[in-house]
């Protein structure tokens, strides 16, 4: 005789997260951070040390891209594997939540197709790698004289299309999509950096600081990097148009410097290497110039916001604890306020972990 049948809906289980040495900066977390950092240092500055691994991928690279495997192909392969494997974990973990399921499938497929397979195909066909999902200013070179020349002056239909694509995406699609959906359409549904943070970085999302001081540092840094990219772009174009201009001798060194400090050290070594210590969105939160632009659009010209359901917040603080961008969500929810913050990437985890269903992401 069966008197009671209880079907439990699968819900997000955060038991033990805050006491785990892996997830809360214990010794294993430090060891993993050292390992990840060492890998990034080798990829960026000592690729010859990875030759033994790169050679393993030679057949795949030849088959996929008709080109020899190099350390960047190794990096891209490991990156994609990390997104897919940890994405599968994410799909299981949030299996009761349709928003998280759709979003995780989205970042996994964008990484696999648009940031791994297609760049290889473009390389095979046009001898030119191209990422459909990265735009200026996250990938500044796409609007810099070098690549614009290659794209438009080539007379090649596909390269011209790709040049037009990146231009239209940067100038038209970014503001329009952000107006309708907030920055999440990019940061937590499409972007590869966001994709890695949302999958490989998910176990560490509770390690971001949500103090007021961090927020202040964040605003100075992220807008500082954006200013840097704007100046850099202007200088490179100026030097390109007028080779005798005052900036021309420094343009190349500035570009190299930006690539080393921001592209390598910040977005790679600190951005991913420090996942287990600082949380997964360090780069997105403190450095990404694309996030800075999307954030300003989101704050002032977007329909996106997180709404709170009346006075139902019980102040448990799960939302703030699991916000990877260090937003103190609870301080808004307690007062029944809408949350409209430039840094919010719309991952929806605050809403997923809320025990009272108080938070809802909305486009209106």
């Amino acid at each position: 005789m069966n008197l009671v049948q209880i079907n439990l809906p699968p819900s997000v289980d955060n038991n033990g997260v805050m006491t785990s040495s892996w997830k809360r900066r214990g010794a294993p977390a430090y060891a993993l951070a050292v390992l990840l950092t060492a890998f990034y240092v080798m990829v960026y500055w000592f690729p010859e040390k990875l030759a033994w691994l790169t050679i393993v991928l030679e057949p795949l690279s030849q088959w996929m891209r008709s080109a020899p495997a190099d350390h960047w192909f190794l990096y891209g392969t490991l990156y994609t594997v990390a997104v897919l494997v940890m994405g599968a974990r994410m799909l299981y973990r949030y299996r009761g939540n349709r928003y998280q399921m759709w979003r995780t499938w989205s970042v996994m497929l964008f990484q696999l197709i648009a940031a791994y397979i297609l760049p290889g195909v473009f390389l095979a066909i046009e001898r030119q790698e191209f990422y459909l999902t990265y735009f200026w200013p996250l990938k500044p070179e796409y609007l810099l004289p070098g690549s614009i020349d290659v794209m438009f002056a080539s007379g090649n239909a596909m390269l011209t299309f790709l040049g037009g694509w990146t231009l239209v995406m940067s100038v038209v699609a970014v503001p329009v999509l952000t107006y309708f959906f907030g920055k999440r359409w990019y940061c937590s549904w499409v972007c590869g950096c966001g994709g890695l943070a949302e999958t490989l970085g998910d176990p560490f999302r509770q390690n971001g600081s949500y103090s007021m001081t961090s927020w202040k540092i964040e605003r100075w840094m992220i807008h500082g990097v954006l200013a840097l990219v704007v100046v850099l772009t202007a200088v490179l174009w100026w030097a390109h148009v007028d080779a005798n201009s005052a900036v021309a001798p420094y343009a190349h060194a500035m570009w190299r410097g930006y690539g080393f400090v921001i592209g390598g050290l910040f977005s790679g070594v600190i951005g991913v290497g420090f996942y287990p210590l600082l949380g997964a969105r360090v780069w997105c939160r403190f450095g990404c110039p694309m996030a800075a632009i999307l954030g300003m659009l989101q704050k002032w010209f977007s329909r996106f916001r997180i709404t709170t359901n009346g006075g139902q917040c019980i102040s448990c603080g799960n939302c703030s604890a699991y916000c990877e961008m260090g937003i103190d969500v609870r301080s808004y929810a307690q007062r029944g306020l809408d949350i409209k913050r430039a840094s919010c990437v719309g991952c929806g985890v605050c809403s997923s972990v809320c025990p009272r269903g108080v938070l809802r992401l909305e486009n209106r």
Binding site: M1, N2, L3, V4, Q5, I6, N7, L8, P9, P10, S11, N97, R98, Y99, W102, N309, G310, G311, Q312, I314, G348, S351, S352, P355, R356, G357, R360, L361, E362
Partner: protein, 219 residues
């Protein structure tokens, strides 16, 4: 099946250590696979009593939540309001806290109970309840076959005004229901615009499923 005027004497386990029977003081034995205990709320008043404050069921307060010592206030589920009422929900405690803060800041405020609303999570199923939901009211219910979700809307049979609602595994907007119930909106209007009250996350199918059921099965 409600048994009155009897208590639980003991709960028996089977060989595997799982609950099998409940024995009542009336001598009756009931087969059981799950026991849910509801013991209510009993305010802790020892401290207040030893401090010389008036104590009955809870700490006795006036309409401004002042205890018998005007320098001391009580708020939340320890406070017994005029009329002997003890409010046991988080939402009431929060509203009482706001009221006490206003009084302490020198405002002349009388505590008014907030809109009757409560939410909780049992066995990972979210639960919301608002307004009056006594079984004496007529009701419209939705129970899709997945067994995970349930909605009951209670209304007055004669006037057709909605008086309350329950939702299990479905998220509802508190402010929308507060408006509907306070204004005594007709159940027909509520069912036509039920989607306005849905608070489920984006991409969830519940809002359109509930709306379709509400349009199909208006009472």
């Amino acid at each position: 099946d409600v048994r009155c005027a009897t208590h639980v004497l003991k709960i028996l386990a089977d060989a595997a250590g799982r609950v099998s029977h409940v024995v009542l003081t009336s001598g009756e034995t009931l087969a059981a696979q799950l026991v849910v205990c509801c013991i209510g709320v009993e305010p802790t008043t020892d401290l207040a009593a030893s401090a010389g404050l008036d104590v009955a069921r809870g700490i006795v307060v006036n309409g401004a939540l002042r205890t018998s010592d005007p320098a001391v206030y009580a708020a939340g589920d320890c406070a017994e309001l005029p009329g002997g009422r003890v409010e046991m929900t988080w939402y009431a405690a929060r509203a009482q806290g706001e009221c006490v803060a206003s009084v302490m800041c020198g405002e002349t405020v009388v505590y008014r109970p907030p809109f009757r609303h409560d939410s909780a999570k049992f066995f990972d199923i979210e639960f919301q309840s608002c307004g009056l939901v006594d079984t004496s009211y007529a009701s419209w219910t939705w129970a899709p076959p997945d067994g995970m979700r349930f909605v009951r809307i209670a209304y007055d049979e004669r006037t057709r005004c909605v008086v309350g609602a329950h939702a299990l595994g479905v998220r509802m907007r508190q402010d929308v229901w507060a408006t509907w119930i306070n204004e005594g909106v007709s159940v027909d209007v509520v069912l036509r615009s039920i989607r306005k009250a849905c608070f489920d996350p984006e991409l969830y199918l519940t809002p359109q499923q509930l709306e379709a059921a509400a349009r199909r099965g208006a009472p």
